[in-house]
């Protein structure tokens, strides 16, 4: 039952506010984490076995009659499902302690589950309009989650995010309407078939431009990035981790990759545009990150830069490039999720996000400092961690296709990444312990546990990268390149 990925989180989130009346903390904690863990296990075992016989299309039956809910699972969507459940499980674990002081925990978990359901739905749908709907489901939940602290700063970030995001959705919907007008269909394959018959380069180009603008804004690619450095740092730390680790990838990168490959068949012009958008994002955001004193803002700019790598890899369009891009998506989801969680631990312990005020925290928070270092090194591409392999694959793929200039940019920007992460690590954790932090304590159990779990996963993907690559990434890239 693949439909569980949408139905179960929705059902649980509907009852969670009622459960919250009976038990303010314990039951919501257990319920949310169990649901996410169950879905993760199912993705790793059951759904994988289903897929062994080829892509699955499930027709849901309701009251004995077949209703037209066609959800489809192929290698790419399974890979995304796996990533979504994995990161959101770690985030839910972390929230057990972190969300204590925000109040209304049941409500928080309910919103988180709706967002997960929205992302799962997006990944499983095979229809342009359904993609749009689930994009909105995840987005509506994320506005409230960004504003969850209800401080002036959070609300301001949520408002700006909402305004830009709505314009993006409008652009996407107009693009969908245009394709619908030309081909009379909404399903990915039907639209693709129609476009092949029509050979309408010009109008298809307009639609593609609208999608690039809409999904580019969701993915925060430069020049559509203005909202992200506000929205991601303002949200509570676990939500920053979901937004940076998952939401921009699912509603931005996944959607654009799916549509570019499966609907437009990736013409070379689109491939070039994607590659250059990626490259510009990598470089500009890396320089912007360098100048930040706010820990979470630095991480947010770094997200823009790393999503640039993913788009660059996918934009190459060769099987190796796509695989590299997807692998980097996975590595970045784990590592950036981890970094936002550790930054949340630091913020909770010290009450500040300003790197200049910190210093020497490694002595008081060894677990946080260690896991933070692992995440930072993985994103910067230091061997043997996961981020190194994915960047290496992207660069090899660039050289193979003769894009030497882009390959040089990718390598140099990676050095820049290492530089600002080392600045962050040095300012926050190394050096002499500042006087005012002498009473700081290590983060509570579940917060540390979630960080350690993610750090182990980061190390694991690095050490056993060949296994991870051949069993998860390669099928995903094949599915994407081949079409459903």
């Amino acid at each position: 039952m693949i439909f569980l990925y949408i139905g179960l989180p929705l059902a649980v989130s509907a009852v969670l506010p009622l459960v919250g009346k009976a038990s303010k903390r314990v039951l919501p904690d257990i319920l949310a984490n169990t649901v996410l863990a169950g879905l993760l296990v199912y993705a790793a075992t059951g759904a994988r076995a289903l897929l062994a016989q080829g892509p699955v299309i499930q027709q849901v039956r309701w009251l004995g009659e077949a209703v037209n809910i066609r959800i489809a699972l192929d290698g790419f969507s399974l890979f995304m499902l796996m990533t979504i459940q994995l990161v959101s499980l770690c985030i839910a674990l972390y929230s057990i302690n972190y969300m204590e002081h925000y109040g209304a925990k049941a409500n928080y978990y309910a919103l988180l589950l709706v967002m997960v359901a929205g992302m799962n739905g997006l990944v499983l749908s095979q229809d342009l309009f359904s993609v749009y709907i689930f994009l909105e489901v995840a987005a509506v939940a994320s506005y409230a989650l960004v504003a969850y602290g209800l401080g002036a700063e959070e609300l301001e970030a949520a408002f700006k995010y909402l305004m830009l995001s709505v314009v993006a959705s409008a652009a996407v919907l107009v693009g969908i309407a245009l394709l619908f007008g030309m081909t009379g269909a909404l399903g990915f394959d039907a639209v693709a078939a129609g476009l092949r018959l029509l050979e309408a380069k010009g109008v298809a180009g307009v639609a593609a431009a609208l999608f690039l603008m809409g999904f580019g804004l969701k993915a925060a690619l430069i020049p559509f990035h203005a909202w992200l450095p506000d929205a991601h740092p303002s949200a509570p730390a676990p939500i920053s981790a979901v937004l940076s680790g998952l939401l921009i990838k699912v509603s931005g990168v996944y959607a654009i990759a799916r549509i570019a490959f499966q609907v437009f068949d990736l013409p070379s012009a689109l491939s070039q545009v994607l590659m250059w958008m990626g490259a510009v994002s990598i470089v500009v955001a890396a320089f912007l990150a360098l100048g930040q004193a706010d820990m979470k803002r630095m991480l947010a700019y770094s997200s823009i830069s790393q999503v640039g790598y993913v788009v660059l890899g996918i934009g190459i369009g060769t099987p190796l490039g796509v695989a590299g891009g997807l692998f980097h998506l996975f590595n970045h989801a784990l590592a950036k999720g981890l970094l936002f969680l550790t930054s949340g631990s630091v913020q909770q312990a010290t009450g500040t996000r300003n790197l200049d005020e910190m210093g020497g925290l490694a002595k008081r928070m060894p677990w946080t400092a260690g896991t933070n270092l692992i995440g930072a090194l993985s994103i910067s591409g230091v061997p043997p961690l996961g981020g190194f392999w994915s960047k290496l694959i992207i660069i090899i793929a660039l050289i193979q296709t003769g894009e030497a200039a882009l390959a040089v940019i990718a390598v140099l920007a990676s050095v820049l990444t290492l530089w600002y992460y080392l600045i962050m690590q040095r300012k926050a954790f190394f050096g002499k312990l500042a006087e005012q932090w002498s009473k700081v304590k290590e983060a509570p159990f579940w917060m540390t546990a979630a960080s350690v779990l993610l750090a182990l996963l980061v190390i694991g993907t690095g050490l056993w990268f060949a296994t991870v690559f051949s069993s998860w990434i390669q099928p995903a890239a094949d599915a994407l390149a081949k079409g459903f």
Partner: protein, 162 residues
């Protein structure tokens, strides 16, 4: 078609008034009027259900929500909008309209399209049988909205963030 164009022009006029009106309540009412006209346009296009939804939900419910918000934020009413914005508006609108007409006639008139067969069935069948997945999406988005509003208006017990 002529009547339809008059309605469309009226809708644009109402929306323009909603943008330019200084009083927020008047703006909200103008927006509702624009929705009403759009509902009628939908009806005349052969989409009665979409028209009813547009009138009852957008012109009705959303306007009520707007009114409520305006009432709850009464003192913030006197935000000074810049004068040049209103003066420059006709100019911008004229330039835009010319470009708009030029583009629509020049490029989009050549949109290639596949021949489609006329569809059979009723609206209910299409919505419930063909687009059932959208209904799940609708449920999800309503749930998201309700939970968001609950979260944004919750009592802040121990959390004093600022």
């Amino acid at each position: 078609m002529t009547f339809q164009i008059i309605l469309l022009a009226a809708m644009i006029a109402a929306s323009a008034f909603a943008v330019l009106a200084r009083d927020l309540l008047k703006a909200a009412v103008a927006l509702a009027v624009s929705s009403l006209i759009l509902g009628v346009i939908f009806f005349r296009m052969g989409a009665p259900y979409a028209g009813v939804f547009e009138i009852s939900v957008v012109a009705g419910l959303i306007t009520v929500l707007f009114m409520l918000t305006i009432a709850l934020t009464k003192q913030g009413d006197d935000v000074r909008e810049s004068k040049t914005v209103k003066i420059a508006f006709p100019l911008f609108f004229l330039v835009f309209a010319l470009i708009d007409i030029f583009i629509m006639r020049g490029i989009l008139a050549k949109v290639p399209a596949l021949e489609g067969a006329a569809e059979a069935g009723t609206f209910g069948e299409v919505l419930w049988k063909e687009r059932s997945f959208d209904l799940i999406g609708q449920l999800a988005v309503i749930l998201a909205g309700v939970l968001s509003v609950l979260a944004l208006f919750r009592k802040r017990d121990r959390h004093d963030h600022e």
